[in-house]
């Protein structure tokens, strides 16, 4: 794991892995690491069973190993700078995943709910636009790389600070 490039005054744990994860266990660990927390917000992304081309059987996620964790640390570091967070947990899976499998977990712990909600949405928007991961969908239609959506880039832009 890389050293975070930004200060992270709270708890930070980032994993890029092929194995599945247990949401309940992950949130329990985040909660245990942030005993002052009053709010936990988490996002889980799942493999949808439909692609634009038809029914999807599985998904392959490629990534840039030396860069992925660094990019996720950078994103989490920005969230720690912008919101009073107590802890962050990020997991992104890579490799071959079945339909409905869990792909990504982003969780934030804070005293009050607004910081956790905003930071969690911010980190997902940045992850979608900046983390070096690529999805390939595999189905009866054959296989294709997922096209980047301009809405994901726009979602990131909305977080830009003025000036």
């Amino acid at each position: 794991m890389d050293t975070p490039s930004y200060p992270s005054p709270g708890y930070l744990n980032i994993s890029v892995q092929s194995e599945d994860f247990d949401i309940g266990l992950e949130l329990q660990q985040l909660k245990a690491a942030t005993p002052q927390a009053g709010a936990l917000v988490n996002f889980v992304g799942l493999v949808r069973d439909m692609s634009v081309d038809g029914k999807l059987n599985r998904m392959f996620i490629e990534h840039y190993p030396a860069m992925t964790e660094k990019a996720l640390h950078h994103i989490a570091g920005q969230a720690f700078q912008r919101w009073p967070l107590l802890g962050v947990r990020i997991i992104h899976r890579v490799g071959t995943l079945a339909a409905q499998a869990q792909i990504v977990l982003v969780a934030a712990a804070s005293l009050h709910r607004q910081a956790a909600f905003e930071a969690c949405a911010f980190m997902m928007d940045y992850l979608k636009a900046e983390a070096p991961l690529w999805k390939k969908e595999i189905g009866d239609f054959g296989e294709h790389w997922v096209e980047a959506r301009t809405s994901d880039e726009q979602a990131k832009q909305q977080w830009k600070l003025p000036g």
Binding site: I61, Y64, M67, A71, L127, A131, L133, W134
Partner: protein, 85 residues
């Protein structure tokens, strides 16, 4: 100068390499110059870097734009817009 270039996802499949070490001629010192130089390898490369698809670049694991400077020993990566999450 000598650098390492990595290719990912669709781009890796197009060029059919995942990585290569290359020695750049004098004057090739930016990402845009590197793209032009690689385009000289032929139609596949020219279409990759000058076609309709966006090619993103990173130097030493940081996203960069076309004007970024490439230095001796750098790890340069080319890849399509990311689609994780």
């Amino acid at each position: 100068m000598k650098i390492t270039i990595l290719y990912f996802a669709r781009i890796k499949e197009v060029v059919n390499y995942s990585s290569e070490d290359v020695v750049l001629p004098d004057g090739v010192e930016t990402i845009v110059a590197l793209k032009s130089w690689l385009s000289g390898r032929g139609e596949t490369w020219r279409k990759l870097f000058h076609g309709s698809g966006v090619v993103r670049a990173a130097i030493n694991h940081e996203l960069v734009d076309d004007m970024a400077t490439v230095e001796e020993g750098d790890e340069v990566a080319f890849f399509p817009p990311v689609t994780g999450g």
